[in-house]
Symmetry: C2
């Protein structure tokens, strides 16, 4: 008898046919579509179940997150702490994040928003580059797999790369900074700051007025991590004061970002609807199958989250 895996999927996944979930390794049950006995569920697969939901599945062997961020699980006070939580590590996600960050770094470097505004006014406004990409320092907050991949892709365009992480990490060609003590030195050298941190109690609200003040005058901020990393009012104040030159936000305190949010209409902000790294269903489901196969064979699970530390 195959183990039972319960899937709780966001609306975007509804387009997938039921066949997509069939597997030789497990029986798939879709929350909201299939009937199931909670005590018969062996594995839970999804993004962010409602608080208390996992507690209702008493026999869980593992929880598999479909996203790279697991804060949605860790914020559930009733998360069953004895059940291992597996974080999705989708190589495709790093690729997508790399595309998104390099594209926006190039748009900043190449004044694309200035040219967009000129086009909207039907005006021919040339503007020279004031510096080469090789003169622009891009700092990456969070130098894990995704951060290191982003740095490598930035280097393909000669951007200077530096990285900061809680504990010291190395990545090729990246000037590495670690811990709270080295954060000010790191920030003072970031012409563009990219946040790919995990969301933990330590990093919640880290993108705030005090941090922005340590960035060079005219710096840009790109947040592709979690909305809760950023104090949105502090960002708007730093943009309006002229200290920061612009921001690119893919994640928000409230998602979907409400139509009346000042972020949508701020002239120095590019806002996208949490699409920088889109979990690719086929790739994610292959990962889920691999995890369950391992667990059933008594092998260790990959990428298990330290629930106490939060990543």
């Amino acid at each position: 008898m195959k183990p039972q895996a319960l899937f709780l999927l966001p609306p975007g996944w509804n387009a997938l046919g039921a066949d997509s979930f069939s597997s030789a390794v497990y029986d798939a049950l879709l929350e909201g579509r299939d009937r199931y006995a909670p005590e018969a569920i062996d594995y839970f697969v999804g993004f962010r179940p409602p608080p208390g939901f996992l507690k209702s599945l008493p026999k869980l062997k593992a929880v598999i997150s479909l996203g790279a961020g697991v804060d949605g699980f860790l914020q559930d006070p009733d998360y069953p702490k004895a059940v291992p939580l597996v974080r999705s590590v989708d190589p495709n996600l790093a690729i997508q994040m790399g595309e998104y960050v390099v594209m926006h770094a190039l748009m900043i470097h190449r004044h694309q928003r200035f040219f967009d505004a000129a086009q909207a006014e039907h005006q021919w406004r040339q503007r020279m580059l004031t510096r080469n990409a090789a003169d622009i320092r891009v700092g990456i907050l969070g130098l894990g797999t995704i951060g290191a991949h982003i740095a490598a892709k930035l280097q393909a365009f000669d951007f200077q790369t530096l990285g900061w992480s809680r504990s010291r990490k190395e990545a090729p060609g990246v000037k590495s900074f670690a811990g709270a003590g080295e954060l000010p030195a790191f920030l003072s050298q970031c012409d563009i700051l990219v946040c790919v941190l995990p969301l933990t109690p330590d990093t919640r609200g880290i993108l705030n007025s005090a941090l922005f003040a340590q960035l060079p005058q005219g710096a840009y901020v790109i947040n592709v991590a979690r909305g809760a990393h950023l104090i949105e009012a502090d960002l708007i104040a730093a943009l309006d004061s002229g200290h920061l030159a612009g921001a690119v936000l893919d994640v928000f305190q409230t998602e979907p970002l409400p139509p009346d949010s000042p972020i949508w209409r701020h002239p120095k902000i590019t806002a996208t609807p949490h699409i920088a790294g889109i979990t690719e269903p086929r790739s994610a489901l292959a990962y889920v199958e691999d995890c369950i196969r391992r667990a059933e064979a008594g092998q260790p699970l990959p990428n298990v989250v330290n629930v106490a530390r939060g990543y």
Copy 2:
């Protein structure tokens, strides 16, 4: 006595101090600023002199173009054909073109204009990627130094690259096509077509209805070469019929593009004011000095244009 070099510069270069032109190798004279005797001028340096201008300099040893394209010189019926024409080969220009093309290829791939429109309406509209960059074929019309550099940078993001040139050229990782006979096969495989051709009688108007019809349904066109490569009305027709999905234009039949041009307001066109590859004055002047030093030493000049062929 140093040779005399006459500079005819576009307005953007006026910001440069007179010091920028001082050289140990030549005496610089600026058209419109300095008095000079036409028969005393040894070298002409500039972008596109008015027709007949060069003819008025009877003792020219060489003409040095500050841009990669030399069509402005070749279109002068009075160009003194005995005088060698040197094309600027600025490594910085290829770097800039690579940045511009990859940025726009990523904006196409990542639906950035869709998200821009959603932001303008304050609407959260997610959209999945329908394919990976590795599934997108980018065809480069013109596989010279700049084309090969663009291809290498596209490959850093896993785009498939193919290239077409008049005579066969090879570049790493690029599927190569050559001559009129292979153009249809090339075009049929271009999801994004990038034009970096030199402007010659053969390539003038090459981006026309007949060519667009050979591209796959939903293809995109990026023109960073010369405005005269493109029949603008044909492009608009191909966009409006839905055969082409979009275009990015940096060059135009008339520059500056007039405010009433339909190109500015077309929803499927991104238009920028001829800034994809900006000749960097310092780098260009170093090149000029090197050319004149060689010529004065009796050494062969680099990158001399075949005036009959046009590049």
